[in-house]
Amino acid sequence: MDEYDELLKLCGFQPGEAREYKPTLKKGLDKLLVTQDDVKFAVKERLPKCWSLHLEGMRKILGCWLREYIRIAVPTPEETRICHTYFPQPGMAYLHPIKLADPTIQVSIPDFIASFVGAAFFNVGWKYVEAAEREGCAIEQIGCSLNKIRYGLHVLGIVPCVDASIGFHSLCDDAALSDQLIHEWDGTKIWTPYRVRDIPFDGDPFEEINIKYFAASLEDGHRKAEEWLGIEITPEHKNEAVELLVELSIKTFVPLLEFMKADPAPLNANDLAYALLPIAMAMDTGYDYTFKAHEILQQELRTMVDEGKGVVPKGTPRVSWRILHPWGCPWLVPMCHELGISADFEEGFLLGEMQLNKSMEIQMGATDLYVMMAQILAMVSVLGTSIEYMFRSHRDHIRDYKIDGLISTGYRPCRTLEGHSLILARMIEDRIGIPCITPDVDIYIDRGDFPKERMRTLLETFADVVKRSKVQRSEQG
C-alpha cells in the first residue's frame, strides 16, 4: 500500500473504488503540483492530526473534496467547456443550473477547492500563490491568497482559458480585480455581477432597491453565461437548483448546527467547515457523495452526542472564529485543543437563531432564484454590509453556541472579510463582554512566514484570558 492508497483510504474510498480511481488521482495530483512527499505529509501528519478520521462520515466528506480538487485538473472526457465562479459566490445555486443546462460543462470554484484541499491537505497552496506573485500580484501589497491561488492556477497552466468566469462582487474587490489579471493572462472571458455596498453602518441589509439590483445583476451574469456557453438556463433548471439548496440545508446544514450546540461539540472546526460547505460549492462531481457521507456522519454524531463524547472534554471553554476559521492552517485547531480551548466554532456558518430562521424563510419562500441568492448573501454575516446587522448575528451565535471568546483572523489575508474586525471586536467586548483576539494569520494557505511557536504563545495567553473570563462570568451569573 503506497501513499496514494493510504490517501484514498483516509478519504473514505472503498477498496474497489480506490483501485479504479487511483490513476486519475495520480494524474490529477501530478498536474496540481502535489508531489509524492506532499501526499506522504498529508497521510502521515496533516489529515490524521487535523480531522476526525475515526468517523467514517468525515472520511467520506474529505473524499468529496478530494474528488473536486482532482476534477479541476482532470475533467471528464465529456466535459468540453468550463464555467467558473469564485468564493464567496454561492456556487451551488449559481453554477448548478448551468450544469443542469449542459452536463458537458465543468463548473467549479477553483480557488476555494484548491485552497480547501491543495493548501489544507497537502500544503501546496504556496506554489499557486507564488506563481501569481511572479505575474502581477505584488507580494508586498498583501493581496488575498485565495484569489492568488485562482490566478496562480491559470499562470501555471493547471486551469486553461475558461469559457465563462462569472464571478461576483459583494464584499470582495480582490476577487473581481484578480479576474482582470486572469483575463489579461489567457483571455478567459470574465463578467462581474455586482452588489452595491451602500448600506449604512446601522442600515437594513435587505433594502429592496439594493437587493433588486444585486438580483438583476446576478441574472445578467447567467445571461452572459448562456451567451458564452451556448446554453439555455430554463426556469426548471433554476427551480431544481433551489430545491437542491433547500434539500442540502435540511439534510446537511441544519442538523450539524444542532449537533454543534452539544457540550462537548462532536466535531472540530476543520471537520465542521468541510462538512458544511458543500452547500456553498458547485460540486462538479455531484452531490450524491455528499448526501451519503452526511447520512453516515450524522448517525455517528448522534451516537457521540448521546454518549457525551466530543473533540474536547465537557466544559472546555468554547471559542469561535469570527466568520471563518483559517483552514489553510488547520494545525491551529489541534493547537487550541492542546491549550485547553475548543476553537471549533465558526461564526460565519454556525448560524444563530435569527440567521437560521431568516435563511430558511428565504429559501422556503423563494420564487426567484436571483432574489433568493441576493437575500441570502445580504444575510450571511460573512458578506453583510451593515455592521450593526453583523453584530446582531455575532451576538446570536455567541448566545446560541455558548461561546466564551472570539478569534478574528487578521486583516492580512482578506481585507474585505476582516476590515470590520477591529470595530466588531470592540463592539463585542463592550456590549457582550467576551474577549477577542486578532492574530495575524492567513486563512487560505500556510506560507510558513510566521513561527508556529509565536502563534502558540499568543493563543496560550488568549486561552488563559478566555478561561479566566469564563470563570468570572459564571461567578457573576
Binding site: 505584488a138 498583501i142 452595491v196 439590483y213 445578467d220 481585507r415 476590515g419
Partner: protein, 387 residues
C-alpha cells in the same frame, strides 16, 4: 506665477473660511472617494463640499493605527488618521460625510468615522458594473437620495436653476484645467506636473467662483509665456495611486532631476477635467451621466476590458511621453494589479516604466529615492535618443 500664488493661499485659509461659514449656519460636507460625488449638487443645496484629499504625512498613518489595521490602504489610512485624531482643522470642520461606495477602502473610512466619531454619514452607491443596464439608474437613485438628505440638512432646495448655475461654473473650471493641462503637450511646456497637480488640488479648497477667476489668470499667464521646461527634458507621466494634497515628494524629485511631468492619471487623486456636464434638460440626470459614465474609468469598474489599460497608452501617445512612473501606495491592491497590466503595455510600446512604492515614507528615504529617479531619468534620456 502671481495668480498661482494667490490661489495657493486658499489651502492655508481654508480652516478659517470653513469656521466663518459654519458660524453663519452653513453645513460643511466631507467627501471620501474617487470623484463620484458631484460638488455642484452640494453647492446647489446651499452647503459646502470638502473633498478629503490631504495626505503624504507619516503622522497621519501613525494616528490611524489606533483604529484600523496596518495593511489598510495608505491614502485611506491617512484619511482615518486626519478624521479621527482631531489634529487637522479642515477635517475637524465637517458636519456630514458622504462616502462613495465602489472601492472598499473608501467605504471602510466611512464605517470607522461613523463608529468612532459619530459623524452622520451617507454612502453613495456607485455600481462597479457600468455596462449593466440598471447601473446608471441605481446611481441616479443614489444621487436623488443624497439630494434629499442634503436638503433636509440645510433646509434649502437644490433647484434646477441652482444646479445649472453650479454645473456651468464647474464646466468652466474643468475647461480651464483642461486647457492648462493641454499646454503640456507643447514640446517646451510652460507648466510642469508638480504645479499642475497643486493647482488642481487648490480646486478642492477654494470657493469655486474665486477659483475659476484665479484659473483664468493662471491660464492667461501661461498661454503667453515661454516654455518653463526645455524641449529636451524627458517627458514623464505619473500614473497609479492618488497623489494627495501635500504629498508632493515624488513629483518634486522627478522635476528636480530634470524631467517634466506632462500628464497624470492618479485614480481620483486629482479632479477629472476631461468631461463636462450638459446644461440642458434634467440636471440631476446630466450630473449622473457625467459623474458616472462620462469620467475616466477607474480600477473598481469591472470588467476593465481594454478600455482601462488603453487609457494609459492613449495618454502616453497624446502627451508624447518618454517614460512612466507608477506611483504605488502600499496596500492599494487594485492599483498594483493595474500597474502590472500597464507595465506590460508600456513594454510593448518601448516606454520605460518604474514603480515607486510609498507608505508616505518617501521623505524618510529621500536620498535613495532621489538616486532611483535620477537614474530613471537618465535611462529615459537614453531611450529617447535611441528613438
Amino acid at each position: 506665477m502671481e495668480a498661482m500664488e494667490r490661489l495657493s493661499k486658499c489651502v492655508q485659509e481654508r480652516p478659517a473660511e470653513l469656521k466663518r461659514l459654519r458660524d453663519g449656519g452653513i453645513k460643511v460636507i466631507g467627501i471620501v472617494g474617487l470623484g463620484y460625488v458631484p460638488e455642484e449638487l452640494i453647492y446647489a443645496s446651499a452647503a459646502i463640499p470638502q473633498r478629503l484629499i490631504k495626505g503624504g504625512q507619516r503622522e497621519a498613518i501613525d494616528d490611524s493605527r489606533e483604529y484600523c489595521h496596518g495593511s489598510f490602504s495608505t491614502f485611506h489610512k491617512a484619511q482615518i488618521g486626519y478624521l479621527l485624531s482631531g489634529k487637522e482643522p479642515v477635517y475637524n470642520s465637517l458636519d456630514y460625510l458622504v462616502v462613495e461606495s465602489g472601492d472598499w477602502n473608501s467605504e471602510m473610512v466611512g464605517m470607522y468615522v461613523y463608529f468612532y466619531r459619530k459623524l452622520p454619514t451617507t454612502w453613495l452607491g456607485v455600481p462597479g458594473n457600468p455596462e449593466f443596464d440598471g447601473a446608471l439608474s441605481y446611481y441616479i437613485t443614489g444621487l436623488g437620495r443624497l439630494r434629499d438628505r442634503l436638503e433636509e440638512l440645510t433646509g434649502s432646495k437644490a433647484s434646477e436653476e441652482k444646479l445649472r448655475e453650479y454645473i456651468t461654473l464647474y464646466n468652466e473650471m474643468r475647461d480651464l484645467l483642461k486647457n492648462i493641462s493641454y499646454l503640456r503637450k507643447h514640446p517646451s511646456p510652460p507648466i510642469g506636473g508638480l504645479d499642475f497637480i497643486k493647482l488642481n488640488h487648490y480646486s478642492f479648497y477654494c470657493e469655486p467662483h474665486k477659483y475659476v477667476d484665479g484659473l483664468k489668470s493662471v491660464y492667461a499667464e501661461l498661454k503667453g509665456s515661454e516654455g518653463e521646461y526645455p524641449a529636451d527634458a524627458p517627458r514623464i507621466a505619473i500614473f497609479g495611486c492618488p497623489i494627495a494634497q501635500s504629498d508632493y515628494v515624488l513629483p518634486r524629485l522627478i522635476e528636480d532631476a530634470g524631467g517634466v511631468i506632462v500628464t497624470e492619471e492618479l485614480s481620483g487623486g486629482i479632479r477629472h477635467y476631461e468631461a463636462n456636464t450638459k446644461v440642458h434638460g434634467d440636471m440631476m440626470g446630466n450630473l449622473a451621466h457625467r459623474y458616472y459614465l462620462g469620467r475616466a474609468r477607474d480600477v473598481y469598474k469591472y470588467p476593465w476590458g481594454d478600455e482601462l489599460p488603453s487609457m494609459f497608452t492613449r495618454l502616453v501617445d497624446d502627451y508624447h511621453v518618454d517614460g512612466v512612473i507608477w506611483y504605488q501606495l502600499m496596500y492599494m491592491v487594485g492599483n498594483s494589479m493595474l500597474g502590472y497590466v500597464v507595465s506590460k503595455r508600456m513594454k510593448e510600446k518601448g516606454i520605460p516604466m518604474m514603480t515607486i512604492q510609498s507608505e508616505y515614507d518617501l521623505q524618510g528615504r529621500l536620498e535613495s529615492n532621489k538616486t532611483r529617479i535620477e537614474t530613471f531619468i537618465e535611462v529615459v534620456k537614453q531611450y529617447r535618443k535611441r528613438r
